[in-house]
Amino acid sequence: MNKKNKIKIVVNGKRLTVNLKFSLENLIEKLKTPINKVAVELNEEIVDKKKLKKIILKNKDKIEIVHFIGGG
């Protein structure tokens, strides 16, 4: 594996290694996340779900993907 073509990111607190030029949309697809049921944050900024394709991930990016669970 050529490390030069990879970047390290953190998704929901877990470290992941992905290819260079990996977009947020690629990530959502890779994780098989139902996009209409989640919200996405990149480095603590909320991402417009319509723009996921245009956002290319960088090394050390922190992504949070959240959804609704049971709660009082």
């Binding site: 877990k14 919200a39 996405v40 909320i46 669970i69 049971g70 709660g71 009082g72």
Partner: protein, 257 residues
């Protein structure tokens, strides 16, 4: 009879029971209990998606947000910053504007931090949120929340999950008198009679989670709470008789042999 509905942020609801979706044995029991309770609003929490185990069932697969209104909350938030971040994310999931704010101040008794709560209410209302606010039963702080634009004032009856019932009836009565937006008892309900009491005092609704989810028979308790809220509301609207220390016979003396 005039139609009696609950109105929050210009949305009308027939049911005055709001149900939490936490602590149930499983999703199926939760969705059944909600159905039986007749609730039209359920509270939900915002948490990380489990990216390593995607087999876990999703809340939305069990409770359809098109049929039952999701009320995103900030459960587990101890600062204004965390609460704001959570609700902004909640809005992003599906354009939710009506939200439940709770900023906790104490890990043991789960009492709200009212300073942080007030700050958050001010910010959220400016951002266009309709904020239903979990708060303590202090009339002064509740007034401040209302002045800050809160869409509903939701004082605790007792600590969250305690099931102790309404501890400070005087404060709730004062709150009823002064509050112009919906007044909803949130937290501390233990049994049906607590819900009846809240409604008889003129509260607009009650929010119940643990008392249903942790009852030995959650589905039956959900039904019990449904009728308690209806019963208490009708009792309040009917105008009770004046309490009297003397007896008053129910049968006329006329025709007595």
């Amino acid at each position: 009879m005039k139609l009696d509905y609950l109105k929050i942020a210009n949305k009308k609801f027939n049911s005055r029971l709001i149900v939490g979706t936490g602590k149930y044995k499983n999703m199926s029991e939760c969705s059944k209990a909600i159905k039986i309770s007749g609730a039209e609003i359920v509270t939900v929490a915002v948490r990380r998606v489990n990216i390593s185990d995607r087999s876990k069932p999703l809340l939305m697969d069990y409770i359809d947000p098109k049929k039952i209104m999701y009320l995103p909350n900030t459960a587990g938030c101890f600062t204004s910053t965390d609460a704001l971040r959570t609700l902004r994310l909640a809005r992003e999931i599906g354009d939710w504007k009506i939200v439940k704010l709770e900023v906790l101040g104490d890990k043991k008794n789960l009492f709200p931090d009212m300073i942080e709560t007030l700050k958050s209410t001010e910010v959220l209302t400016k951002e266009g949120f309709k904020v239903m606010v979990y708060c303590n039963d202090d009339p002064l702080m509740c007034k401040r929340l209302e002045n800050a634009g809160a869409s509903a004032i939701m004082p605790l009856a007792a600590p969250i999950g305690s099931g102790l019932g309404i501890q400070n009836k005087t404060n709730i009565k004062i709150l009823r008198h002064q509050t112009k937006v919906p007044l909803i008892i949130d937290a501390g309900i233990g049994q049906a009679s607590d819900a009846v009491q809240a409604m008889e005092m003129g509260c607009d609704a009650v929010l119940i989670n643990t008392a249903i989810a942790k009852a030995k028979n959650p589905l039956q308790m959900a039904e019990s709470m449904k009728y308690a809220v209806i019963s208490g509301r009708k009792s309040f609207l009917s105008g009770r008789i004046e309490p009297n220390l003397q007896g008053s016979p129910s049968t006329t003396k006329k025709g007595l042999i």
